[in-house]
């Protein structure tokens, strides 16, 4: 899973690659992607139209609650809560993460600390494996906001 990738797309101006670290990346999960407290691996697949990038927010610039509130209030989307994976877990599965919140490619409006998990070099089979591992890590960590009772 952690074989080196040589064909990463070049980062654009303002996109900052995150080095492996315990820093958490917050992921909002649609209510239908949670069942009996379990998050499906689908929650860690790229949304259609996102070009094999998975949207998250980084812990250094946003907390789990703020990420949830921005997503549901400012963006007006449904979320069952904030789940998390660490940057080192992203790197371990062979993907990479970059902070694009200050770049020209940032979504508008841009959630503070918006960070993309990049799986662009990979085909559907590999993306499925990556999303499965990341969802497993997120499930082990549990929901970060609202805190699970």
């Amino acid at each position: 899973m952690d074989d080196a990738v040589s064909n990463w797309p070049q980062l654009q101006h303002g996109e900052i690659k995150l080095e492996s670290s315990p820093e958490l990346l917050w992921r909002q999960v649609n209510p239908q992607f949670v069942n009996n407290g379990q998050v499906t691996s689908q929650a860690f697949r790229p949304n259609s139209g996102d070009g094999n990038l998975i949207s998250t927010c980084r812990e250094e610039k946003q907390d789990a609650r703020g990420a949830f509130e921005f997503y549901t209030t400012v963006l007006g989307r449904d979320s069952a809560g904030t789940w998390a994976v660490s940057v080192e877990q992203v790197v371990a599965v062979g993907a990479r993460a970059f902070d694009d919140s200050e770049s020209e490619t940032a979504p508008q409006p841009c959630p503070p600390g918006h960070t993309s998990i990049d799986v662009r070099p990979f085909g559907p089979g590999r993306v499925k494996a990556i999303s499965t591992v990341l969802s497993r890590h997120a499930n082990v960590r549990g929901r970060q906001y609202p805190e699970s009772s």
Binding site: Q32, N35, S41, Q42, G125
Partner: protein, 371 residues
């Protein structure tokens, strides 16, 4: 195509159910719709050619009825014939046999015009447009009809049909489909019923098969007590695929499985409206729910724990067991493609399998529990 004594192949069906060997029985109504279309066009042509004749010649309809004589591969090519016609039949049949050939060509030309969004052939009898609208109502996503009688490639599918419906200003149209709800009204004399759908909306319907009264009565109750049923038949839907009424019913089937802990979750998925994923996300297909239910029943019998049950954006269903270190998933698409997947998150070892056999799927799932 040429020698009718050997039958003729008007079109090829491909994609979805037509990618497997044989002709799916549930798709036979599409052939009947083609026959009716052909007959109506032939009838209209004959009347246009014979304005002085008030009635069709004797035997006109019977002589033009079609039989499915065989199915050729690639993907599925139905070969049709008018049985029992001697070689010189056309000359014996008061000339109307030639109308049949004209009708075949006109149907092909009309579909070509529809596919390429061109003017319909001027000789097309106006009253048959409704039959063209009906044709293709049983097509599922990814399924196509390719007409074989034209020089240009003529591929008809749901998106083409939808555009045609808009063009003909059809506000509601008929499709083969399934509606889920509780039967709260039955009028046996009028052969009508009311179905309270899972959002609480009452959908009215009719049925022509009187023997269905027994089935409806069996499931009739108040909305709080009635079992959830799936009504399969012809639905009148609007442009957004919302059911406006049930025009006719083929079967009434109880869908609920109250004795299982996962049944309520399947019903939740069945009731999901299109757009559940922030405006995207299709309604969950019943064929996918059926397969998921059968797999769940089998693995429950084997003592395997209840998985996470999730809708998929394309209208499929996903079952996922997240154990440590093995994650196992079953993904069922609306076209009944079934993808079985197992990953050891520690080692990265993966297994993949595709199968529409419930027992094969259950064996695969069990493998994630027993090593």
């Amino acid at each position: 195509m040429a020698d009718e004594s050997d039958g003729f192949a008007p079109f090829r069906l491909r994609g979805g159910r037509y990618e497997q060997v044989g002709f799916p029985l549930e798709a036979l109504p599409e052939l009947a719709r083609y026959e009716r279309l052909l007959l109506d066009v032939a009838r209209g042509l004959w009347r246009n050619n014979n304005p002085e004749r008030q009635r069709l010649p004797r035997g006109f309809v019977g002589r033009l009825q079609l039989r499915l004589v065989r199915v050729e591969e690639g993907s599925v090519i139905p070969v049709l014939a008018r049985p029992g016609l001697p070689a010189d039949a056309e000359t014996m049949l008061d000339g109307f046999g030639g109308v049949f050939e004209q009708a075949k060509n006109l149907v092909d030309a009309t579909f070509e015009a529809i596919v390429y969004d061109e003017e319909l052939p001027p000789e097309l009898p106006g009253e048959v447009v409704a039959e063209f609208i009906r044709f293709g109502s049983g097509l599922r996503k990814n399924e196509q009809v390719e007409f074989l009688g034209r020089a240009r490639t003529v591929v008809y599918d749901r998106s083409v049909r939808k555009r045609f419906l808009k063009r003909t200003a059809t506000e509601q149209f008929s499709v083969e489909g399934i509606e889920l709800g509780r039967v709260t009204v039955v009028d046996a004399d009028a052969q009508e019923f009311g179905l309270t759908d899972l959002r609480g909306r009452l959908v009215r319907g009719k049925y022509t098969n009187s023997s269905l009264t027994v089935d409806f009565r069996r499931v009739l109750d108040s909305r709080n007590l009635a079992s959830v049923v799936r009504v399969e038949g012809v639905l009148a839907v609007n442009e957004r695929d919302e059911t406006l009424e049930v025009e006719d019913v083929r079967s009434v089937e109880v869908f609920e499985l109250p004795e299982f802990p996962w049944s309520s979750r399947l019903l939740e998925l069945a009731a999901l409206s299109a757009g559940w994923l922030d405006g995207n996300g299709k309604g969950v297909a019943f064929v996918a729910l059926d397969f998921a239910r059968d797999v769940l029943r089998e693995v429950t019998d084997r003592g395997i724990s209840v998985p996470g049950i999730f809708p998929m954006p394309d209208g499929g269903v996903q079952l996922e067991w997240q154990n440590d270190p093995i994650v196992t998933s079953v993904e069922v698409t609306p076209d009944l493609d079934v993808f079985l997947y197992r990953l050891d998150v520690n080692s990265g070892n993966e297994d993949n399998l595709t199968s529409t056999d419930v027992n094969v799927a259950a064996d695969f799932i069990a493998g994630g529990f027993h090593g």
